[in-house]
C-alpha cells in the first residue's frame, strides 16, 4: 500500500499525476491500496475513486493537512462523504491567500478522465488555523485515521517542529519517507513509540510511485476498514516493517 499520493490538485505536483495515470501506475507496480492526499484538499478524491473502478486498486480519500505550526498530518477518511465534510472544516480554517499558478503551480480539479473541471483559487499549501493535535483529534471525530507525515524530514514534520511525539497523542501511525535506507529507518523507531510505522512515496510525479516506497500490510482485503484494523493489530491483521524486503 501507498498512503501518501498527490494529484494535479497539489501545486507542487507534476501534471502527470492525473486520475487514470495514478491508477494504472499503481496497478502496474502491484500496489492495491492507496490514499489520495493532496494538500489541505480532497477535491480530486472523487476522480480517483471513479478512475479506480474495476482496476483492483482501492482508493482511500484523504488530505495532507498542514497545521498552524507547519506540521503535515495525513488525514484518511472512511469514505468520500466524510472526506468532503472534513475538507469543509479544513477550508474554513485556511488563510485566504490566493494561489499564483506561475509561481507555485496549478491546482487543477479533474474528473476521472483528466478533464479539468475547476481550479482551486486559494493557495492550498498553507498552514490552517488549527494545531496538529487539534487536526488529529478532529480526524478521529470524523471516524478517520491520522498519520504523522514524514517525521524524518527536517521540515513539515511533527518531530522537527515539536521535538518528540507525546506518548498520549492519539495518532494512528507515523510515516517515514521512502528515501530512508533500512538502517536509517531503524533509528527512527524509538521516536515512533509503539505506533505502527508506514513508508509511503509522497509521490508528486508518477516515477515516485514504486514498491520500494510502499508498506506491506496483512489485510482481509484492501480497504479503509481493514487498514484501520491493521493499524490496531486486530485479528491477525497488521502492518509489516516496510524495510524488511529492501535492504539498503
Amino acid at each position: 500500500m501507498d498512503l501518501h499520493i498527490h494529484t494535479v490538485l497539489s501545486p507542487c505536483a507534476e501534471l502527470d499525476m492525473g486520475a487514470p495515470d495514478i491508477i494504472s501506475c499503481c496497478k502496474e507496480k502491484d500496489i492495491d491500496l492507496i490514499a489520495i492526499t493532496d494538500h489541505n484538499s480532497a477535491l480530486n478524491c472523487e476522480a480517483l475513486n471513479r478512475a479506480s473502478t474495476g482496476s483492483g486498486v482501492e482508493v482511500i480519500c484523504g488530505l495532507e493537512v498542514q497545521s498552524s505550526e507547519d506540521i503535515h498530518v495525513l488525514c484518511l477518511m472512511p469514505d468520500l462523504v466524510k472526506a468532503r465534510a472534513f475538507e469543509e472544516w479544513v477550508r474554513k480554517l485556511l488563510p485566504p491567500y490566493r494561489n499564483i499558478p506561475d509561481k507555485f503551480g496549478d491546482q487543477f480539479v479533474i474528473d476521472e478522465d483528466n478533464h479539468v473541471i475547476d481550479e482551486c483559487e486559494i493557495l492550498l499549501v498553507q498552514g490552517i488555523d488549527a494545531t496538529a493535535d487539534e487536526i488529529i483529534e478532529k480526524t478521529r471525530s470524523f471516524g478517520g485515521l491520522s498519520i504523522l507525515a514524514h517525521i524524518d524530514r527536517p521540515a513539515y514534520s511533527y518531530v522537527a517542529v515539536l521535538g518528540m511525539i507525546p506518548e498520549n497523542l492519539e495518532v494512528d501511525a507515523v510515516e517515514l519517507s521512502g528515501r530512508l535506507t533500512a538502517s536509517e529507518a531503524l533509528l527512527w523507531l524509538e521516536k515512533a513509540g509503539k505506533r505502527p510505522v508506514i513508508r509511503s512515496s509522497d509521490a508528486h510525479t508518477l516515477k515516485d510511485i514504486g514498491q520500494e516506497r510502499t508498506t506491506m500490510a496483512l489485510l482481509g482485503k484492501p480497504s479503509f476498514h481493514e487498514l484501520s484494523l491493521a493499524l490496531k493489530g486486530v485479528d491477525g491483521r497488521k502492518v509489516l516493517w516496510p524495510w524488511d524486503r529492501n535492504s539498503p
Binding site: E69, T131, D133, V159, A160, V161, L162, G163, M164, P166
Partner: protein, 112 residues
C-alpha cells in the same frame, strides 16, 4: 541578572508561571523548531519562542531552561502552563515579537 529583574525590566509581560525568581540568567536562546532547540540551545539559558505546545516544557526541562518567554503575545496552551508549573519552569508571555525581545534582552546584558 535575576529572572525577577529581567521580567521587571520588560514591558507588556504576562506571567503565567512564576518560578525561580532569584535564579541568575546570563545567556539566552531563540527558536521555534523544538528539535533544533534541543540540539543547539545552551543549557540554563532563557528561551524566547512563539511555540506554545506542551512539548516546550519537555525541551525546557532537558535544557534546564529556567525561563520561557513566549513572544508576540502568544498564550500558552493549558497543558504547557500545567507542565511548567509542575517542573518549576518560569513561563511568561510578552507582547513584543522575538526580534524586539532579543534586542531588549541583549541590551539588558543577557548574552551568549
Amino acid at each position: 541578572m535575576k529572572i525577577r529583574d529581567i521580567l521587571g525590566n520588560l514591558e507588556g509581560v504576562t506571567i503565567y508561571v512564576a518560578a525561580g525568581e532569584d535564579v541568575e540568567i546570563t545567556s539566552g536562546f531563540v527558536g521555534d523548531l523544538l528539535s533544533f532547540v534541543m540540539g543547539s540551545a545552551p543549557e540554563k539559558a532563557l528561551w524566547v519562542t512563539i511555540q506554545n505546545h506542551v512539548n516546550v516544557a519537555a525541551v525546557a526541562l532537558l535544557k534546564e531552561v529556567p525561563l520561557v518567554l513566549l513572544a508576540s503575545g502568544r498564550v500558552p496552551s493549558p497543558e504547557l502552563k500545567d507542565q511548567c508549573h509542575k517542573e518549576g519552569i518560569a513561563l511568561a508571555s510578552i507582547d513584543m515579537d522575538s526580534f524586539e525581545v532579543c534586542g531588549r534582552l541583549f541590551a539588558l546584558g543577557v548574552r551568549n
